[in-house]
Protein backbone atom coordinates (compact mmCIF):
# COMPACT_ATOMS: atom_id res chain seq x y z
CA UNK A 1 0.00 0.00 0.00
CA UNK A 2 2.64 2.48 1.15
CA UNK A 3 4.84 1.33 -1.67
CA UNK A 4 2.18 2.10 -4.24
CA UNK A 5 1.62 5.60 -2.81
CA UNK A 6 5.33 6.26 -3.11
CA UNK A 7 5.23 5.03 -6.68
CA UNK A 8 2.40 7.37 -7.53
CA UNK A 9 4.03 10.40 -5.92
CA UNK A 10 7.26 9.73 -7.77
CA UNK A 11 5.47 9.14 -11.05
CA UNK A 12 3.24 12.20 -10.82
CA UNK A 13 6.02 14.55 -9.74
CA UNK A 14 8.17 13.35 -12.61
CA UNK A 15 5.37 13.83 -15.13
CA UNK A 16 4.50 17.27 -13.77
CA UNK A 17 8.18 18.21 -13.95
CA UNK A 18 8.25 17.23 -17.60
CA UNK A 19 5.08 19.26 -18.20
CA UNK A 20 6.60 22.37 -16.61
CA UNK A 21 9.83 22.03 -18.61
CA UNK A 22 7.84 21.52 -21.80
CA UNK A 23 5.71 24.58 -21.10
CA UNK A 24 8.85 26.66 -20.54
CA UNK A 25 10.22 25.37 -23.84
CA UNK A 26 6.94 26.31 -25.53
CA UNK A 27 7.13 29.84 -24.15
CA UNK A 28 10.77 30.15 -25.25
CA UNK A 29 9.85 29.12 -28.78
CA UNK A 30 6.95 31.57 -29.05
CA UNK A 31 9.14 34.27 -27.50
CA UNK A 32 11.84 33.53 -30.04
CA UNK A 33 9.36 33.73 -32.90
CA UNK A 34 8.04 37.12 -31.84
CA UNK A 35 11.41 38.60 -30.91
CA UNK A 36 13.86 37.15 -33.41
CA UNK A 37 12.00 36.09 -36.51
CA UNK A 38 9.70 39.07 -36.55
CA UNK A 39 10.09 42.44 -34.96
CA UNK A 40 7.29 42.83 -32.41
CA UNK A 41 7.24 46.58 -32.83
CA UNK A 42 6.38 46.44 -36.49
CA UNK A 43 3.94 43.65 -35.85
CA UNK A 44 2.11 45.64 -33.22
CA UNK A 45 2.26 49.12 -34.63
CA UNK A 46 0.65 48.05 -37.89
CA UNK A 47 1.25 49.24 -41.40
CA UNK A 48 0.91 52.99 -40.72
CA UNK A 49 3.24 54.46 -38.12
CA UNK A 50 5.47 57.44 -37.27
CA UNK A 51 8.92 57.43 -35.70
CA UNK A 52 7.35 58.82 -32.52
CA UNK A 53 4.93 55.87 -32.34
CA UNK A 54 7.82 53.44 -32.84
CA UNK A 55 9.89 54.98 -30.04
CA UNK A 56 6.95 54.98 -27.64
CA UNK A 57 6.14 51.41 -28.52
CA UNK A 58 9.73 50.27 -27.96
CA UNK A 59 9.72 51.88 -24.52
CA UNK A 60 6.26 50.59 -23.62
CA UNK A 61 7.15 47.06 -24.57
CA UNK A 62 10.45 47.24 -22.75
CA UNK A 63 12.35 46.30 -25.88
CA UNK A 64 15.22 48.55 -24.81
CA UNK A 65 15.82 46.25 -21.87
CA UNK A 66 18.17 43.25 -21.86
CA UNK A 67 16.84 40.06 -23.40
CA UNK A 68 16.47 38.03 -20.21
CA UNK A 69 14.38 40.85 -18.74
CA UNK A 70 12.17 40.87 -21.81
CA UNK A 71 11.67 37.15 -21.54
CA UNK A 72 10.95 37.49 -17.84
CA UNK A 73 8.29 40.13 -18.55
CA UNK A 74 6.85 37.94 -21.26
CA UNK A 75 6.49 35.04 -18.82
CA UNK A 76 5.01 37.33 -16.19
CA UNK A 77 2.32 38.51 -18.59
CA UNK A 78 1.58 34.96 -19.65
CA UNK A 79 1.24 33.84 -16.05
CA UNK A 80 -1.29 36.60 -15.49
CA UNK A 81 -3.25 35.46 -18.51
CA UNK A 82 -2.32 38.56 -20.47
CA UNK A 83 -1.96 37.63 -24.12
CA UNK A 84 -2.11 41.19 -25.42
CA UNK A 85 -4.91 43.01 -27.19
CA UNK A 86 -6.40 42.31 -30.57
CA UNK A 87 -6.07 45.19 -32.98
CA UNK A 88 -9.06 44.04 -34.90
CA UNK A 89 -11.66 43.17 -32.26
CA UNK A 90 -10.24 45.71 -29.74
CA UNK A 91 -10.67 43.11 -26.99
CA UNK A 92 -8.02 41.52 -24.82
CA UNK A 93 -6.95 38.35 -26.63
CA UNK A 94 -7.70 36.27 -23.54
CA UNK A 95 -11.31 37.44 -23.56
CA UNK A 96 -11.71 36.71 -27.27
CA UNK A 97 -10.23 33.27 -26.79
CA UNK A 98 -12.50 32.52 -23.87
CA UNK A 99 -15.59 33.38 -25.88
CA UNK A 100 -14.52 31.28 -28.87
CA UNK A 101 -13.07 28.31 -27.06
CA UNK A 102 -16.41 26.52 -26.48
CA UNK A 103 -17.14 26.42 -30.22
CA UNK A 104 -13.82 24.74 -30.95
CA UNK A 105 -14.09 22.42 -27.95
CA UNK A 106 -17.58 21.37 -28.98
CA UNK A 107 -16.48 20.65 -32.53
CA UNK A 108 -13.29 18.81 -31.61
CA UNK A 109 -14.96 16.75 -28.88
CA UNK A 110 -17.79 15.61 -31.15
CA UNK A 111 -15.33 14.82 -33.92
CA UNK A 112 -13.24 12.78 -31.51
CA UNK A 113 -16.24 10.83 -30.21
CA UNK A 114 -17.54 10.23 -33.71
CA UNK A 115 -14.12 8.98 -34.78
CA UNK A 116 -13.51 6.80 -31.72
CA UNK A 117 -16.95 5.20 -31.85
CA UNK A 118 -16.34 3.81 -35.27
CA UNK A 119 -12.55 3.45 -35.33
CA UNK A 120 -12.06 1.36 -32.18
CA UNK A 121 -14.70 -1.32 -32.91
CA UNK A 122 -13.72 -1.40 -36.58
CA UNK A 123 -10.06 -1.75 -35.65
CA UNK A 124 -10.84 -4.55 -33.20
CA UNK A 125 -12.82 -6.51 -35.76
CA UNK A 126 -10.31 -5.93 -38.54
CA UNK A 127 -7.45 -6.96 -36.27
CA UNK A 128 -9.17 -10.10 -35.05
CA UNK A 129 -10.34 -11.29 -38.46
CA UNK A 130 -7.37 -10.26 -40.54
CA UNK A 131 -8.25 -12.01 -43.76
CA UNK A 132 -11.86 -10.85 -43.98
CA UNK A 133 -13.24 -8.46 -46.56
CA UNK A 134 -14.08 -6.17 -43.68
CA UNK A 135 -10.39 -5.88 -42.72
CA UNK A 136 -9.56 -4.97 -46.29
CA UNK A 137 -12.34 -2.37 -46.38
CA UNK A 138 -11.15 -0.86 -43.10
CA UNK A 139 -7.63 -0.64 -44.49
CA UNK A 140 -8.89 1.17 -47.57
CA UNK A 141 -10.96 3.64 -45.55
CA UNK A 142 -8.06 4.36 -43.21
CA UNK A 143 -5.73 5.04 -46.13
CA UNK A 144 -8.32 7.26 -47.75
CA UNK A 145 -8.90 9.25 -44.57
CA UNK A 146 -5.20 9.89 -44.08
CA UNK A 147 -4.70 11.16 -47.61
CA UNK A 148 -7.88 13.25 -47.71
CA UNK A 149 -7.36 17.02 -47.30
CA UNK A 150 -9.88 17.97 -44.61
CA UNK A 151 -10.84 21.32 -46.14
CA UNK A 152 -11.59 19.66 -49.45
CA UNK A 153 -13.64 16.88 -47.87
CA UNK A 154 -15.62 19.57 -46.03
CA UNK A 155 -16.40 21.30 -49.31
CA UNK A 156 -17.47 18.01 -50.89
CA UNK A 157 -19.87 17.33 -48.03
CA UNK A 158 -21.24 20.86 -48.28
CA UNK A 159 -21.81 20.36 -51.98
CA UNK A 160 -23.63 17.05 -51.54
CA UNK A 161 -25.68 17.72 -48.40
CA UNK A 162 -26.37 21.42 -48.77
CA UNK A 163 -26.09 22.48 -52.41
CA UNK A 164 -27.56 19.33 -53.96
CA UNK A 165 -29.71 17.53 -51.40
CA UNK A 166 -30.66 20.49 -49.16
CA UNK A 167 -30.68 18.15 -46.17
CA UNK A 168 -28.46 20.33 -44.02
CA UNK A 169 -28.21 24.09 -43.48
CA UNK A 170 -25.72 26.42 -45.16
CA UNK A 171 -22.21 26.24 -43.70
CA UNK A 172 -22.55 29.45 -41.72
CA UNK A 173 -21.96 29.23 -38.01
CA UNK A 174 -23.20 26.93 -35.29
CA UNK A 175 -26.99 27.34 -35.15
CA UNK A 176 -29.89 28.88 -37.06
CA UNK A 177 -30.34 32.58 -36.56
CA UNK A 178 -33.60 32.39 -34.60
CA UNK A 179 -31.90 30.46 -31.80
CA UNK A 180 -29.02 32.91 -31.33
CA UNK A 181 -30.37 34.14 -27.97
CA UNK A 182 -30.28 30.68 -26.44
CA UNK A 183 -29.22 31.03 -22.78
CA UNK A 184 -25.50 30.22 -22.63
CA UNK A 185 -24.48 27.91 -19.84
CA UNK A 186 -21.71 25.73 -21.22
CA UNK A 187 -21.15 27.57 -24.49
CA UNK A 188 -21.80 24.27 -26.27
CA UNK A 189 -24.93 24.96 -28.28
CA UNK A 190 -25.97 21.31 -28.34
CA UNK A 191 -25.80 21.04 -24.55
CA UNK A 192 -27.27 24.49 -23.94
CA UNK A 193 -30.24 23.65 -26.11
CA UNK A 194 -30.83 20.44 -24.17
CA UNK A 195 -30.46 22.25 -20.86
CA UNK A 196 -33.00 24.82 -22.00
CA UNK A 197 -35.27 22.00 -23.10
CA UNK A 198 -35.41 23.54 -26.54
CA UNK A 199 -35.66 20.59 -28.91
CA UNK A 200 -35.74 22.49 -32.20
CA UNK A 201 -32.65 24.50 -31.16
CA UNK A 202 -30.94 21.21 -30.41
CA UNK A 203 -31.81 19.81 -33.81
CA UNK A 204 -30.58 22.99 -35.45
CA UNK A 205 -27.25 22.92 -33.61
CA UNK A 206 -26.72 19.24 -34.43
CA UNK A 207 -27.46 19.92 -38.09
CA UNK A 208 -24.79 22.61 -38.12
CA UNK A 209 -22.34 20.47 -36.21
CA UNK A 210 -22.66 17.22 -38.11
CA UNK A 211 -20.75 18.03 -41.31
CA UNK A 212 -17.68 19.70 -39.78
CA UNK A 213 -17.55 16.98 -37.11
CA UNK A 214 -17.85 14.25 -39.73
CA UNK A 215 -15.11 15.87 -41.82
CA UNK A 216 -12.71 15.91 -38.90
CA UNK A 217 -13.71 12.43 -37.75
CA UNK A 218 -12.95 10.95 -41.16
CA UNK A 219 -9.59 12.67 -41.48
CA UNK A 220 -8.34 12.15 -37.91
CA UNK A 221 -9.64 8.70 -36.95
CA UNK A 222 -7.38 6.57 -39.20
CA UNK A 223 -4.47 6.72 -36.75
CA UNK A 224 -6.68 5.38 -33.95
CA UNK A 225 -8.06 2.76 -36.31
CA UNK A 226 -4.63 1.61 -37.37
CA UNK A 227 -3.19 1.37 -33.89
CA UNK A 228 -6.25 -0.54 -32.66
CA UNK A 229 -6.03 -2.96 -35.55
CA UNK A 230 -2.29 -3.53 -35.17
CA UNK A 231 -2.56 -4.06 -31.43
CA UNK A 232 -5.52 -6.41 -31.78
CA UNK A 233 -3.64 -8.38 -34.40
CA UNK A 234 -0.54 -8.61 -32.23
CA UNK A 235 -2.35 -9.57 -29.05
CA UNK A 236 -4.71 -12.10 -30.59
CA UNK A 237 -1.63 -14.02 -31.73
CA UNK A 238 0.18 -13.74 -28.41
CA UNK A 239 1.08 -16.72 -26.25
CA UNK A 240 -1.16 -15.86 -23.34
CA UNK A 241 -4.23 -15.60 -25.54
CA UNK A 242 -3.33 -18.93 -27.07
CA UNK A 243 -3.02 -20.51 -23.63
CA UNK A 244 -6.30 -18.94 -22.57
CA UNK A 245 -7.91 -20.59 -25.57
CA UNK A 246 -6.19 -23.87 -24.79
CA UNK A 247 -7.63 -23.75 -21.30
CA UNK A 248 -11.03 -23.39 -22.90
CA UNK A 249 -11.91 -20.00 -21.48
CA UNK A 250 -15.05 -18.49 -22.99
CA UNK A 251 -14.56 -16.03 -25.83
CA UNK A 252 -15.96 -13.15 -23.82
CA UNK A 253 -13.29 -13.61 -21.14
CA UNK A 254 -10.55 -13.82 -23.73
CA UNK A 255 -11.79 -10.65 -25.35
CA UNK A 256 -11.74 -8.90 -21.98
CA UNK A 257 -8.14 -9.95 -21.31
CA UNK A 258 -7.06 -8.89 -24.76
CA UNK A 259 -8.84 -5.55 -24.65
CA UNK A 260 -7.31 -4.51 -21.37
CA UNK A 261 -3.87 -5.13 -22.78
CA UNK A 262 -4.38 -3.10 -25.89
CA UNK A 263 -5.96 -0.16 -24.10
CA UNK A 264 -2.80 1.83 -23.29
CA UNK A 265 -1.59 2.60 -26.82
CA UNK A 266 -5.17 3.27 -27.94
CA UNK A 267 -5.68 5.79 -25.17
CA UNK A 268 -2.41 7.50 -26.01
CA UNK A 269 -3.42 7.75 -29.65
CA UNK A 270 -6.87 9.10 -28.79
CA UNK A 271 -5.28 11.71 -26.53
CA UNK A 272 -2.88 12.74 -29.27
CA UNK A 273 -5.78 13.02 -31.70
CA UNK A 274 -7.67 15.22 -29.25
CA UNK A 275 -4.62 17.38 -28.66
CA UNK A 276 -4.21 17.70 -32.40
CA UNK A 277 -7.91 18.43 -32.98
CA UNK A 278 -7.99 21.61 -30.93
CA UNK A 279 -5.74 23.27 -33.47
CA UNK A 280 -6.40 20.87 -36.33
CA UNK A 281 -9.87 22.35 -36.71
CA UNK A 282 -8.45 25.54 -38.27
CA UNK A 283 -9.00 24.67 -41.91
CA UNK A 284 -12.39 23.05 -41.29
CA UNK A 285 -13.51 26.05 -39.23
CA UNK A 286 -12.66 28.26 -42.19
CA UNK A 287 -14.65 26.06 -44.59
CA UNK A 288 -17.73 26.00 -42.35
CA UNK A 289 -17.29 29.54 -40.96
CA UNK A 290 -17.35 27.87 -37.55
CA UNK A 291 -16.71 30.71 -35.08
CA UNK A 292 -13.98 29.01 -33.04
CA UNK A 293 -10.33 29.61 -32.25
CA UNK A 294 -9.07 28.66 -35.70
CA UNK A 295 -11.34 31.06 -37.54
CA UNK A 296 -10.41 33.74 -35.00
CA UNK A 297 -6.71 33.21 -35.69
CA UNK A 298 -7.18 33.21 -39.46
CA UNK A 299 -9.35 36.36 -39.35
CA UNK A 300 -6.80 38.08 -37.14
CA UNK A 301 -4.00 37.08 -39.47
CA UNK A 302 -5.87 38.49 -42.44
CA UNK A 303 -6.10 41.80 -40.55
CA UNK A 304 -2.34 41.70 -39.81
CA UNK A 305 -3.34 41.32 -36.18
CA UNK A 306 -0.57 39.34 -34.61
CA UNK A 307 -1.20 38.74 -30.94
CA UNK A 308 -4.37 36.63 -31.33
CA UNK A 309 -2.49 34.19 -33.59
CA UNK A 310 0.28 33.82 -31.02
CA UNK A 311 -2.27 33.47 -28.22
CA UNK A 312 -4.09 30.65 -29.97
CA UNK A 313 -0.76 28.93 -30.72
CA UNK A 314 0.26 29.08 -27.06
CA UNK A 315 -3.08 27.79 -25.89
CA UNK A 316 -3.15 24.87 -28.33
CA UNK A 317 0.42 23.85 -27.52
CA UNK A 318 -0.39 23.96 -23.81
CA UNK A 319 -3.61 22.00 -24.32
CA UNK A 320 -1.73 19.34 -26.24
CA UNK A 321 0.79 18.91 -23.44
CA UNK A 322 -1.92 18.69 -20.78
CA UNK A 323 -3.98 16.13 -22.72
CA UNK A 324 -0.83 14.11 -23.20
CA UNK A 325 -0.18 14.22 -19.45
CA UNK A 326 -3.71 13.02 -18.73
CA UNK A 327 -3.19 10.12 -21.14
CA UNK A 328 0.05 9.22 -19.37
CA UNK A 329 -1.73 9.19 -16.02
CA UNK A 330 -4.55 7.03 -17.41
CA UNK A 331 -1.97 4.61 -18.75
CA UNK A 332 -0.35 4.44 -15.34
CA UNK A 333 -3.72 3.60 -13.82
CA UNK A 334 -4.28 0.78 -16.31
CA UNK A 335 -0.76 -0.58 -16.29
CA UNK A 336 1.30 -0.43 -13.07
CA UNK A 337 4.49 -1.11 -15.01
CA UNK A 338 4.26 2.34 -16.57
CA UNK A 339 4.53 4.14 -13.28
CA UNK A 340 7.39 2.03 -12.00
CA UNK A 341 9.54 2.00 -15.08
CA UNK A 342 9.49 5.70 -15.82
Amino acid sequence: MLESVREWVLFLSKRLGILVISLILVSMITFAVTHFIGNPVYLLVGPRYTQQMLDNMIRDLGLDQPLWRQYFNYIKNLAQGDLGTSRYTYNPVMQDIRSRLPATLELSTFSLLLGVFWAVPAGLIAGTYRQSWFARLVDLVARGGVSMPSFWLGLLLIYVFFAELHWLPAPLGRIDRQFRDLPQVTGWYTLDALLAGNWSAFVSSVKHLILPALTLAITTSPSTLQITRNKAEEIMQSDYIRSARAFGLPNSTIRRYAFRNMLAPIITMIAMTYGYLLSGTVLVEVVFTWPGLGLYAVDAMNHSDYEPVMGVVLLSAGFYLVVYLVADILNAVIDPRVRVSS
Binding site: L25, G38, L283, V286, M301, Y306, S341
Partner: protein
Protein backbone atom coordinates in the same frame (compact mmCIF):
# COMPACT_ATOMS: atom_id res chain seq x y z
CA UNK B 1 12.36 6.77 -21.08
CA UNK B 2 11.78 4.00 -23.51
CA UNK B 3 14.03 3.97 -26.51
CA UNK B 4 12.54 2.42 -29.59
CA UNK B 5 14.60 -0.43 -30.87
CA UNK B 6 16.06 0.60 -34.15
CA UNK B 7 15.67 -1.08 -37.46
CA UNK B 8 19.27 -1.68 -38.42
CA UNK B 9 19.25 -2.20 -42.16
CA UNK B 10 22.19 -4.07 -43.53
CA UNK B 11 21.59 -3.66 -47.21
CA UNK B 12 22.83 -1.01 -49.58
CA UNK B 13 20.39 1.51 -51.01
CA UNK B 14 19.81 -0.05 -54.38
CA UNK B 15 20.47 -3.64 -55.06
CA UNK B 16 19.09 -5.55 -57.95
CA UNK B 17 16.81 -7.22 -55.45
CA UNK B 18 15.21 -4.05 -54.03
CA UNK B 19 12.33 -4.18 -56.47
CA UNK B 20 12.17 -7.92 -55.93
CA UNK B 21 11.75 -7.55 -52.22
CA UNK B 22 9.02 -4.95 -52.64
CA UNK B 23 7.18 -7.31 -54.95
CA UNK B 24 7.62 -10.15 -52.44
CA UNK B 25 6.19 -8.05 -49.63
CA UNK B 26 3.32 -6.37 -51.46
CA UNK B 27 2.56 -8.27 -54.62
CA UNK B 28 3.59 -7.17 -58.07
CA UNK B 29 0.33 -5.42 -58.95
CA UNK B 30 0.56 -3.01 -56.03
CA UNK B 31 4.20 -2.24 -56.71
CA UNK B 32 3.81 -1.58 -60.44
CA UNK B 33 0.57 0.36 -60.18
CA UNK B 34 1.86 2.71 -57.49
CA UNK B 35 5.33 3.26 -58.90
CA UNK B 36 3.80 3.69 -62.34
CA UNK B 37 1.27 6.25 -61.17
CA UNK B 38 3.90 8.24 -59.26
CA UNK B 39 6.09 8.21 -62.35
CA UNK B 40 3.14 9.36 -64.46
CA UNK B 41 2.39 12.22 -62.06
CA UNK B 42 5.99 13.41 -62.09
CA UNK B 43 6.13 13.05 -65.85
CA UNK B 44 2.95 15.14 -66.26
CA UNK B 45 4.42 17.83 -64.04
CA UNK B 46 7.75 17.90 -65.85
CA UNK B 47 6.23 17.86 -69.32
CA UNK B 48 3.36 20.27 -68.59
CA UNK B 49 4.90 23.22 -70.48
CA UNK B 50 5.29 21.22 -73.71
CA UNK B 51 1.99 19.33 -73.51
CA UNK B 52 -0.89 20.73 -75.57
CA UNK B 53 -2.52 22.42 -72.56
CA UNK B 54 -4.30 25.74 -72.36
CA UNK B 55 -2.46 28.62 -70.73
CA UNK B 56 -2.98 27.98 -67.00
CA UNK B 57 -2.79 31.63 -65.93
CA UNK B 58 -4.76 33.31 -68.70
CA UNK B 59 -8.04 34.75 -67.41
CA UNK B 60 -11.09 34.83 -69.65
CA UNK B 61 -13.58 37.34 -68.20
CA UNK B 62 -16.27 36.22 -70.64
CA UNK B 63 -16.02 32.53 -69.71
CA UNK B 64 -15.94 32.36 -65.92
CA UNK B 65 -17.24 29.36 -63.97
CA UNK B 66 -18.04 27.30 -67.06
CA UNK B 67 -18.99 23.70 -66.22
CA UNK B 68 -16.80 20.88 -67.56
CA UNK B 69 -17.13 20.47 -71.32
CA UNK B 70 -15.15 19.14 -74.25
CA UNK B 71 -13.57 22.59 -74.52
CA UNK B 72 -12.66 22.80 -70.81
CA UNK B 73 -12.41 19.29 -69.42
CA UNK B 74 -12.53 20.43 -65.80
CA UNK B 75 -14.47 23.64 -66.49
CA UNK B 76 -13.19 27.15 -65.76
CA UNK B 77 -12.71 28.99 -62.47
CA UNK B 78 -13.97 32.38 -61.28
CA UNK B 79 -11.43 34.14 -63.49
CA UNK B 80 -12.18 31.99 -66.50
CA UNK B 81 -8.87 30.13 -66.22
CA UNK B 82 -8.85 26.51 -67.41
CA UNK B 83 -9.09 24.24 -64.36
CA UNK B 84 -7.67 21.18 -66.12
CA UNK B 85 -4.54 22.94 -67.24
CA UNK B 86 -4.10 24.56 -63.81
CA UNK B 87 -4.53 21.24 -62.03
CA UNK B 88 -1.74 19.71 -64.15
CA UNK B 89 0.56 22.70 -63.80
CA UNK B 90 0.00 22.69 -60.04
CA UNK B 91 1.92 19.39 -59.84
CA UNK B 92 5.03 21.44 -60.59
CA UNK B 93 4.35 23.98 -57.86
CA UNK B 94 3.27 21.57 -55.15
CA UNK B 95 5.84 18.86 -55.78
CA UNK B 96 8.71 21.33 -56.14
CA UNK B 97 7.84 23.14 -52.92
CA UNK B 98 7.25 19.89 -51.04
CA UNK B 99 10.45 18.28 -52.24
CA UNK B 100 12.59 21.30 -51.42
CA UNK B 101 11.17 21.54 -47.91
CA UNK B 102 11.75 17.83 -47.29
CA UNK B 103 15.32 18.02 -48.62
CA UNK B 104 16.07 20.94 -46.30
CA UNK B 105 14.54 19.00 -43.42
CA UNK B 106 16.77 16.01 -44.19
CA UNK B 107 19.85 18.18 -44.60
CA UNK B 108 19.38 19.53 -41.06
CA UNK B 109 17.71 16.56 -39.37
CA UNK B 110 20.20 13.86 -40.36
CA UNK B 111 23.34 15.56 -38.96
CA UNK B 112 21.41 16.69 -35.89
CA UNK B 113 20.21 13.18 -35.10
CA UNK B 114 23.62 11.66 -35.87
CA UNK B 115 25.52 14.00 -33.59
CA UNK B 116 23.03 13.90 -30.73
CA UNK B 117 22.76 10.13 -30.95
CA UNK B 118 26.51 9.53 -31.10
CA UNK B 119 27.56 11.88 -28.33
CA UNK B 120 24.56 11.27 -26.09
CA UNK B 121 24.51 13.10 -22.78
CA UNK B 122 23.13 16.59 -22.36
CA UNK B 123 23.14 17.46 -26.07
CA UNK B 124 21.06 14.41 -26.77
CA UNK B 125 18.59 15.13 -23.98
CA UNK B 126 18.08 18.72 -25.09
CA UNK B 127 17.64 17.81 -28.75
CA UNK B 128 15.22 14.97 -27.95
CA UNK B 129 13.08 17.03 -25.58
CA UNK B 130 13.02 20.03 -27.90
CA UNK B 131 11.91 17.92 -30.85
CA UNK B 132 9.16 16.34 -28.76
CA UNK B 133 7.79 19.75 -27.76
CA UNK B 134 8.00 20.95 -31.34
CA UNK B 135 5.96 18.03 -32.55
CA UNK B 136 3.23 19.01 -30.11
CA UNK B 137 3.04 22.47 -31.63
CA UNK B 138 -0.09 23.12 -33.68
CA UNK B 139 1.43 22.97 -37.12
CA UNK B 140 -0.85 25.04 -39.31
CA UNK B 141 -1.32 27.65 -36.56
CA UNK B 142 2.37 27.85 -35.76
CA UNK B 143 3.05 28.16 -39.47
CA UNK B 144 0.57 31.04 -39.58
CA UNK B 145 2.28 32.76 -36.65
CA UNK B 146 5.77 32.43 -38.08
CA UNK B 147 4.70 33.54 -41.54
CA UNK B 148 2.81 36.46 -40.06
CA UNK B 149 6.00 37.44 -38.24
CA UNK B 150 8.50 36.77 -40.99
CA UNK B 151 6.46 37.73 -44.05
CA UNK B 152 4.18 35.88 -46.41
CA UNK B 153 6.64 34.51 -48.94
CA UNK B 154 7.08 31.15 -50.61
CA UNK B 155 10.51 30.77 -49.02
CA UNK B 156 9.03 31.11 -45.56
CA UNK B 157 6.36 28.51 -46.31
CA UNK B 158 9.03 26.09 -47.49
CA UNK B 159 11.13 26.77 -44.40
CA UNK B 160 8.21 26.17 -42.04
CA UNK B 161 7.41 22.83 -43.61
CA UNK B 162 11.13 21.96 -43.60
CA UNK B 163 11.24 22.84 -39.93
CA UNK B 164 8.55 20.27 -39.19
CA UNK B 165 10.49 17.63 -41.09
CA UNK B 166 13.64 18.08 -39.02
CA UNK B 167 12.47 16.07 -35.96
CA UNK B 168 11.20 13.25 -38.16
CA UNK B 169 14.67 12.66 -39.57
CA UNK B 170 16.70 13.49 -36.49
CA UNK B 171 14.69 10.94 -34.51
CA UNK B 172 15.05 8.32 -37.22
CA UNK B 173 18.81 8.76 -37.59
CA UNK B 174 19.27 8.89 -33.84
CA UNK B 175 17.49 5.57 -33.46
CA UNK B 176 19.91 4.02 -35.95
CA UNK B 177 22.98 5.64 -34.43
CA UNK B 178 22.40 4.90 -30.74
CA UNK B 179 22.50 1.08 -30.90
CA UNK B 180 25.54 1.25 -33.19
CA UNK B 181 27.71 3.31 -30.87
CA UNK B 182 29.36 0.23 -29.45
CA UNK B 183 29.15 -2.15 -32.36
CA UNK B 184 32.45 -3.86 -33.16
CA UNK B 185 33.22 -2.20 -36.46
CA UNK B 186 32.60 1.22 -34.93
CA UNK B 187 34.96 0.43 -32.09
CA UNK B 188 37.49 -0.83 -34.57
CA UNK B 189 37.27 2.47 -36.41
CA UNK B 190 37.71 4.25 -33.10
CA UNK B 191 40.76 2.22 -32.16
CA UNK B 192 42.22 2.88 -35.58
CA UNK B 193 42.25 6.52 -34.61
CA UNK B 194 39.50 7.95 -36.80
CA UNK B 195 38.06 11.24 -35.56
CA UNK B 196 34.49 10.84 -34.15
CA UNK B 197 32.74 12.83 -36.87
CA UNK B 198 34.28 10.79 -39.63
CA UNK B 199 33.22 7.60 -37.83
CA UNK B 200 29.67 8.87 -37.64
CA UNK B 201 29.55 9.86 -41.28
CA UNK B 202 31.57 7.12 -42.94
CA UNK B 203 30.48 4.18 -40.82
CA UNK B 204 27.19 4.88 -39.07
CA UNK B 205 25.07 7.33 -41.04
CA UNK B 206 25.12 5.25 -44.26
CA UNK B 207 23.10 2.67 -42.33
CA UNK B 208 20.32 5.22 -41.93
CA UNK B 209 20.04 5.93 -45.62
CA UNK B 210 17.45 3.27 -46.44
CA UNK B 211 14.96 4.33 -43.73
CA UNK B 212 15.51 7.98 -44.69
CA UNK B 213 14.86 7.12 -48.31
CA UNK B 214 11.72 5.16 -47.39
CA UNK B 215 10.45 8.07 -45.34
CA UNK B 216 10.95 10.59 -48.14
CA UNK B 217 7.68 10.04 -50.06
CA UNK B 218 5.71 10.07 -46.80
CA UNK B 219 7.28 13.39 -45.85
CA UNK B 220 6.53 14.72 -49.32
CA UNK B 221 2.90 13.66 -48.91
CA UNK B 222 2.72 15.48 -45.62
CA UNK B 223 4.50 18.51 -47.07
CA UNK B 224 2.10 18.71 -50.03
CA UNK B 225 -0.85 18.58 -47.62
CA UNK B 226 0.63 21.28 -45.41
CA UNK B 227 1.56 23.56 -48.31
CA UNK B 228 -1.91 23.19 -49.81
CA UNK B 229 -3.46 23.82 -46.37
CA UNK B 230 -1.44 26.99 -45.85
CA UNK B 231 -2.27 28.20 -49.34
CA UNK B 232 -5.92 27.48 -48.65
CA UNK B 233 -5.90 30.13 -45.91
CA UNK B 234 -3.98 32.54 -48.09
CA UNK B 235 -0.40 31.86 -47.03
CA UNK B 236 2.33 31.15 -49.52
CA UNK B 237 1.19 30.49 -53.04
CA UNK B 238 -1.02 33.17 -54.48
CA UNK B 239 -3.37 33.21 -57.42
CA UNK B 240 -2.79 33.09 -60.39
CA UNK B 241 0.12 30.70 -59.81
CA UNK B 242 -1.41 27.23 -60.19
CA UNK B 243 -1.43 25.40 -56.84
CA UNK B 244 -4.04 22.97 -55.52
CA UNK B 245 -4.70 24.59 -52.13
CA UNK B 246 -5.21 28.10 -53.48
CA UNK B 247 -7.32 26.72 -56.33
CA UNK B 248 -9.61 24.96 -53.86
CA UNK B 249 -9.84 28.18 -51.88
CA UNK B 250 -10.69 30.23 -54.98
CA UNK B 251 -13.54 27.85 -55.80
CA UNK B 252 -14.78 27.37 -52.23
CA UNK B 253 -17.30 30.19 -52.29
CA UNK B 254 -19.02 28.79 -55.36
CA UNK B 255 -19.50 25.28 -54.00
CA UNK B 256 -22.57 26.36 -52.02
CA UNK B 257 -24.10 27.48 -55.31
CA UNK B 258 -23.56 24.06 -56.81
CA UNK B 259 -20.50 25.03 -58.85
CA UNK B 260 -18.24 22.27 -57.63
CA UNK B 261 -15.63 21.91 -60.37
CA UNK B 262 -13.15 24.71 -59.53
CA UNK B 263 -12.60 23.14 -56.08
CA UNK B 264 -13.28 19.46 -56.57
CA UNK B 265 -10.79 18.72 -59.36
CA UNK B 266 -7.69 20.27 -57.76
CA UNK B 267 -8.70 18.59 -54.48
CA UNK B 268 -8.99 15.28 -56.25
CA UNK B 269 -5.48 15.74 -57.64
CA UNK B 270 -4.19 16.61 -54.17
CA UNK B 271 -5.89 13.59 -52.64
CA UNK B 272 -4.63 11.30 -55.37
CA UNK B 273 -1.02 12.53 -55.10
CA UNK B 274 -0.93 12.14 -51.34
CA UNK B 275 -2.46 8.68 -51.65
CA UNK B 276 0.18 7.56 -54.16
CA UNK B 277 3.02 9.03 -52.14
CA UNK B 278 1.78 7.26 -49.01
CA UNK B 279 1.55 3.96 -50.88
CA UNK B 280 5.01 4.31 -52.36
CA UNK B 281 6.41 5.02 -48.92
CA UNK B 282 4.72 1.84 -47.73
CA UNK B 283 6.44 -0.10 -50.51
CA UNK B 284 9.82 1.36 -49.66
CA UNK B 285 9.38 0.56 -45.97
CA UNK B 286 9.43 -3.12 -46.85
CA UNK B 287 13.08 -2.55 -47.76
CA UNK B 288 13.74 -1.42 -44.20
CA UNK B 289 11.96 -3.99 -42.11
CA UNK B 290 12.57 -6.97 -44.34
CA UNK B 291 16.28 -7.47 -44.00
CA UNK B 292 18.22 -10.09 -45.85
Amino acid sequence: MTTTSAPVPQTPLFRASALRRMVDAHGSRKVWVNLGLLFLLILLGVLAPILPLKNPVKPAPMATLQPPSSEHWFGTDRDGMDVFSRTIFAIRTDFALALSSVVIGIAIGVPLGAVSGYYGGIVDTVVTRATEVLQGFPQILFGMAVIAAAGNTLTNVVLIVAFYNIPVYSKMVRSVVVPMRNVEFVQAAKVAGNPPLSIVYRHIVPNALVPVFAQLPLSCAYAVQMIAGLSFIGLGVEIPRPEWGSMIQAGANYVVFGKWWPSVFPGLALFFSVWILNNVSDLLKSLVTRRA
